[in-house]
């Protein structure tokens, strides 16, 4: 095996540093936030917010795995967060459905009875 290939294998075998997970999480969070601000369909906005929550969850699990003092408690917290997010979706889709029934659209720009 050539030495370059061996070096590549060694590099691949190293554990990914904490920063890697946090950066991915931050990018996911930013994409979700961007989508939540620019998309006009309420259901898509909701999906973007779910992406944000999952990005946070990724950071949480990474922290709990890497921090010496945390003792892995973060994984338990992550399950709680998932449960809360599911509850939010349950109520959220019901509310979006109520809007759809009353005006046949879920475009957030057209839902504008009340202003200022």
């Amino acid at each position: 095996m050539p030495p370059q290939a061996q070096q590549l294998l060694d590099a691949l075998n190293q554990t990914i540093p904490l920063e890697g997970y946090l950066i991915v999480g931050a990018i996911m969070f930013a994409i979700g936030a961007y989508g939540a601000l620019v998309r006009r369909n309420a259901v898509v906005v909701f999906m973007c917010i779910e992406l944000m929550i999952n990005a946070v969850n990724l950071s949480l699990v990474a922290f709990s795995d890497y921090l010496p003092d945390a003792g892995g408690a973060g994984a338990g917290y992550a399950v709680l967060v998932i449960a809360v997010a599911a509850a939010e979706v349950a109520v959220g889709l019901a509310v979006v459905l109520a809007v759809y029934r009353s005006r046949k659209t879920v475009n957030v720009d057209e839902v504008n009875l009340m202003k200022w």
């Binding site: 979700g32 939540a36 945390a70 967060v81 509310v95 009340m114 200022w116």
Partner: protein, 477 residues
């Protein structure tokens, strides 16, 4: 370790939860029994209130679940506020929800918000805070969107939902970053690591945490959901949501900042001062141009969040103890005057012209509205005056240039708010009644609430002494 004491400490929440579940179950098996579920829900709120008073009088204190849940005077005080507002909200909700035929679901949602808010004030673990805050918020989305006969209701619900869920994810990110920076979600251990210069991660976590809370407290620039949600929501829900979850959120923010990051006080008092000034001005200036009384009260509640945030800005130097007192007294004062004002809307109507000549047609209700409006302005001897007085004293005692500016803004904004509150009083006394507004039937419970709250607003001075004493022994500050 779970002992019998744990159950005693959790008794108010357990009772509220059991009553909310039995209300729901009665709704499943006998959907038409409005009177029964309303009575049961009101009794549940009352039972919660009595249990909390007993715990407070017996000086019950304790930490449970490894220190993640604490019962102290501070927490019990805010549980009282939540229980009282839940009681009045149930009374006011019974008639409306009975007419639409959804009384069990509606009352269950109110009690669920109450359970979440009561759990919230006792949390000492940031993830516990998140779960409790969601338990208080998720049912409130449904409460806002509950009125199917008005299109504003579902619209307000959707706006509240989308901004609220967004705020939750921001808050959660803040919590996770603080957890990562401190290595623990426990407030005492966070306090140990939040010393000296803050690391960038900790600072970002703090900023995101405060932004998330600012959303929930409808502080400017995160207040956009408030007017739409309160205008769309059924009146009893708007009244309840503007008091109980907000009081609990202020309480837990106070606990997190004072117990979790006292060493970073210069940073967060500066942020709070900025938020407070902005919130007061925007709330009052937008309230000035509203013709819908409910929307005006929503902006007024934004402004009042600003006054309470002004007390947070004074949490430094010699002002800490007085600022904690200010938050406690202001919340009690706000409870009686704001619930009362919303219930008058329930009795009269939300358009400003429905108040024309109210003093001639219904003098009792009109006089109560005068009391609430004067209290919201902050005229002595009504309740709002004492809240503002304590905020101002705390700001002066804190004694920094920033708090003087904040106190000046509080006074200026109180003057700014006079026209819109007194516009309603003018309509009631000096305009001719447009139609002969007959009293709707079956409003006994709402009227009872309005009169009780008006009396409490008027004699609030009697409560101020005990409240100040309670704030002194409550451990924080």
């Amino acid at each position: 370790m779970v002992t019998a004491q744990t159950f005693v400490g959790l008794l108010p929440e357990i009772l509220a939860f059991l009553f909310s579940m039995s209300v729901l179950m009665i709704g499943v098996f006998s959907p038409r029994s409005t009177g029964l579920v309303a009575g049961l829900a009101a009794f549940g709120a009352l039972a919660t209130f009595v249990t909390t008073v007993v715990l407070l009088l017996t000086r019950f204190e304790g930490e449970f679940f490894g220190g993640a849940y604490v019962v102290d005077d501070f927490a019990l005080y805010f549980k009282l506020i939540v229980a009282v507002s839940a009681f009045f909200a149930v009374l006011a909700a019974a008639r409306w929800s009975g007419r639409t035929g959804d009384a069990p679901e509606y009352l269950t949602l109110i009690l669920s918000v109450a359970v979440g808010a009561m759990l919230l004030v006792s949390m000492r673990d940031l993830f516990g805070v998140f779960v409790a805050i969601e338990l208080a918020t998720i049912p409130s989305y449904a409460l806002v969107a509950f009125d199917r006969s008005r299109r504003e209701s579902s619209e307000g619900g959707m706006k509240y939902l989308l901004t609220g869920v967004l705020a939750s994810s921001v808050l959660l990110y803040g919590i996770v970053l603080i957890y990562g920076a401190a290595g623990s979600a426990d407030l005492a251990e966070i306090a140990g690591s939040f010393t000296g210069r803050l690391t960038p991660v900790a600072l970002l976590g703090l900023v995101l945490l405060i932004s998330g809370f600012a959303f929930k407290l409808s502080a400017v620039p995160f207040h956009f959901w408030t007017p739409d949600a309160y205008q769309g929501a059924p009146t009893s829900a708007a009244a309840f949501l503007s008091v109980a979850p907000k009081a609990a959120t202020f309480a837990i923010l106070l606990r997190i900042l004072l117990e979790g990051m006292p060493a970073a006080a210069p940073t967060w008092t500066a942020v709070m001062a900025f938020l407070a000034i902005l919130t007061m001005f925007v709330g009052n200036l937008f309230a000035l141009r509203q013709r819908n009384v409910r929307r005006m009260l929503a902006y007024s509640s934004v402004a009042h969040s600003g006054y309470i945030l002004a007390a947070f800005a004074a949490l430094q130097g010699a002002g800490v103890e007085r600022a904690v007192q200010a938050v406690l007294i202001y919340m009690a004062a706000y409870l009686v005057m704001n619930l009362g004002a919303f219930f008058v809307i329930d009795l009269v109507g939300e358009e400003a012209k429905t108040y024309n000549g109210l003093f001639k047609t219904r003098p009792g209700v009109a006089l109560c509205m005068v009391v609430f409006m004067a209290a919201l302005v902050g005229i002595p001897p009504f309740s709002g005056f004492f809240g503002k007085l304590w905020v101002i004293i705390a700001g002066v005692e804190a004694g920094s240039a920033v708090t003087y500016v904040v106190v000046g803004t509080v006074v200026l904004n109180s003057v700014l708010s006079v026209p819109y509150y007194f516009g309603i009083i003018r309509n009631m006394f000096f305009e001719e009644p447009a139609t002969d507004a007959a009293e709707p039937k079956g409003v006994g419970a709402v009227k009872f609430s309005v009169y009780t709250l008006a009396i409490a607003t008027t004699v609030f001075i009697l409560f101020v002494g005990p409240l100040a004493a309670l704030a002194r022994i409550s451990g924080l500050g």
